[in-house]
């Protein structure tokens, strides 16, 4: 393989898009309104589209005869590198928007740096993604404001979601070996440096939404190293169902 680190680095970014796209896809047709269904599907489509670009690139540099689908569907759970945040379930619409916003802020900061990568392919994917993710962030942020500063019931529900999702935010800024190696080469982004801007933006929005910023200092991590939550196995059972049941076929 041309670069083990580069390969792992790409998967570290792409897996977040895949798993979040998968979660949003589960909701299609079951949301609170036709408009939110359409928007949620749109975001899912963007994320799956980004995933494909990353995996196609990863497949190419793997040097083996891999395809984007081998990477997407045929790894063991421990091989997926997404953060715990994106695999959290669609408990209710507040969780869906909370998870989305807490990821979108990070995602946009990441792509804004990645567009200057020395790796031309990654830079191009990032550039294209910035427009999409800016829209995602606006959509989810607007909903947090509506739900946070809506009715007493919606405020409580939105607060509950933010409180529950908050412990998964710190993992976004952990540096893996691949992250460190790629950042040193000017290919990857030093995500630890995005932390300050991230929390500043999130806190501002939560305040606008009349929500409290969680004070908890306990954080969960593990996804980046393939140690996931109990939810992940079920998500993968759905995701991988066809490829596992009917191996080596074209669809």
């Amino acid at each position: 393989m041309k670069s083990e680190h580069l390969y792992n680095y790409i998967l570290g970014i792409a897996d977040n898009s895949l798993i979040l796209g998968q979660r949003l896809g589960e909701l299609c047709g079951h949301g609170p309104s036709l408009e939110t269904d359409i928007a949620g599907t749109n975001i899912s489509l963007d994320l799956i589209g980004q995933t494909r670009s990353y995996y196609q690139y990863a497949a190419k540099i793997s040097g083996e005869n891999k395809t984007e689908d081998d990477i997407a569907f045929l790894r063991l759970e421990r091989g997926y590198k997404n953060v715990l945040l994106v695999e959290q379930p669609n408990t209710h619409f507040g969780y869906v928007m909370g998870r989305q916003y807490l990821f979108d802020v990070f995602h946009l900061l990441l792509l804004q740096e990645l567009q200057f990568s020395k790796d031309q392919t990654l830079a191009a994917i990032a550039k294209k993604g910035i427009k999409e993710v800016s829209y995602h962030k606006r959509f989810s942020g607007d909903w947090i404001k509506r739900l946070g500063d809506g009715t007493p019931e919606s405020t409580a529900k939105m607060q509950e979601a933010i409180d529950d999702l908050w412990p998964y935010t710190q993992e976004l800024f952990d540096m893996t070996d691949a992250d460190t190696a790629m950042a040193q080469e000017g290919i990857g982004v030093d995500v630890s440096k995005l932390k300050e801007s991230y929390y500043k933006q999130v806190k501002t929005l939560l305040t606008q939404a009349t929500l409290e910023v969680p004070q908890s200092t306990y954080f969960s991590r593990g996804g980046k190293n393939g140690v996931h939550s109990e939810h992940m196995g079920y998500l993968l059972a759905d995701l991988q169902y066809m490829q596992r049941t009917y191996p080596n076929m074209e669809w």
């Binding site: 599907t41 489509l45 209710h92 509506r146 809506g150 019931e153 076929m249």
Partner: protein
């Protein structure tokens, strides 16, 4: 208004339709025209959004990323169709909430085909190929219907439906060129969807109501039986290309008519499903009701938030 005046308006109205003029929402129209259109357009809108459910069922299990993206896009298109059709219906003076109430209470109907389950990936192919295919045959004539908002919605919808139909056929083609399991899956899907697709074109002419009035208003331009024949004649050669067998032993090309003769349709099954006793009627409606009920707090919050912002604007202005 006197009866005389109303009769006069009705004559002018019918003459406009006969001249192929479009009726717009703000135009005067007979009450029966309004009611019939609310019923038909909302039934169509409901079909679009209930139709999202059987296909949505396979988004999380799509076999490749390319197929997952295409399926997401398709289901999203159906949501879009629902949206234009509800909007067209709202121009006739009924709210979306009311329309949803009618769907949830069972008062309004939707296309019965969506009360069948999607059991394998091949069902995504069969639905696109057959169900979107039959929908196009039903809907192309409506692009020239007399009510302007409906006609315009149909032009846009039909374009997307034909894309869905080709995409469905392509899913089937891939399966039919694949392994034995894949080909069996495709044949099984055709076996299950063929007859319900034929039923989708509506009851046989002898049992079909409202037709004469609908013809005059261009809500219907061909009879159900003619549409069904058109669908069969178009689809059988496609099944041949796929190398699949249509599950009808009586299906035979008739040289005299240039059409396919086909076997008897089980209309008892059709009426059973229409009356609410198909395999998934309850499940489909419960899913819609659950989405609506679980979303109530979200919609309330959006309204409350908008009202607060409005109030703030007024305060600042003062």
């Amino acid at each position: 208004m006197s009866n005389e005046q109303i009769k006069n308006l009705e004559e002018i109205f019918e003459a406009r339709i006969a001249r192929d003029e479009k009726i717009e929402a703000k135009d005067w129209m007979p009450e029966k025209y309004r009611k019939t259109h609310i019923r038909q357009i909302s039934q169509h809108a409901h079909s679009e959004i209930v139709g999202m459910l059987p296909e949505g069922n396979w988004i999380s299990r799509a076999p490749s990323l390319r197929r997952k993206a295409a399926l997401l896009a398709k289901v999203q298109d159906e949501a879009g169709h629902g949206l234009y059709l509800y909007s067209a219906c709202e121009t006739l003076g009924i709210s979306r909430e009311e329309l949803y109430q009618q769907l949830h209470s069972g008062k309004a109907k939707y296309s019965s085909i969506f009360n069948y389950p999607t059991l394998t990936w091949a069902d995504m192919g069969a639905i696109g190929w057959l169900v979107d295919g039959a929908a196009i045959i039903n809907q192309v004539p409506l692009c020239n219907t007399s009510f302007g908002p409906y006609a315009r919605a149909m032009v846009r919808v039909c374009k997307e439906e034909s894309f869905h139909q080709r995409q469905g056929f392509e899913i089937m083609l891939k399966l039919c060129n694949g392994s034995k399991e894949q080909k069996d899956m495709a044949q099984d899907a055709l076996n299950r969807w063929w007859w319900p697709s034929l039923m989708m074109l509506g009851p046989t002419d002898a049992e079909s109501v409202h037709t004469e009035q609908s013809m005059k208003w261009k809500l219907k331009r061909k009879s159900n039986d003619d549409l069904r024949q058109q669908f069969i004649d178009q689809t059988v050669p496609q099944a041949d290309i796929l190398g699949l067998t249509i599950p009808d032993p009586d299906l035979k090309f008739n040289k005299q008519t240039g059409s396919y003769d086909f076997g008897a349709i089980n209309w008892d099954e059709f009426w059973q499903v229409v009356k609410g006793h198909g395999p998934c009627n309850k499940q489909r409606i419960s899913a819609r009701v659950a989405a609506w009920d679980n979303g109530a707090w979200v919609r309330d919050a959006a309204m409350a938030h908008a009202a607060k912002k409005e109030e703030l604007k007024v305060k600042i202005a003062i």
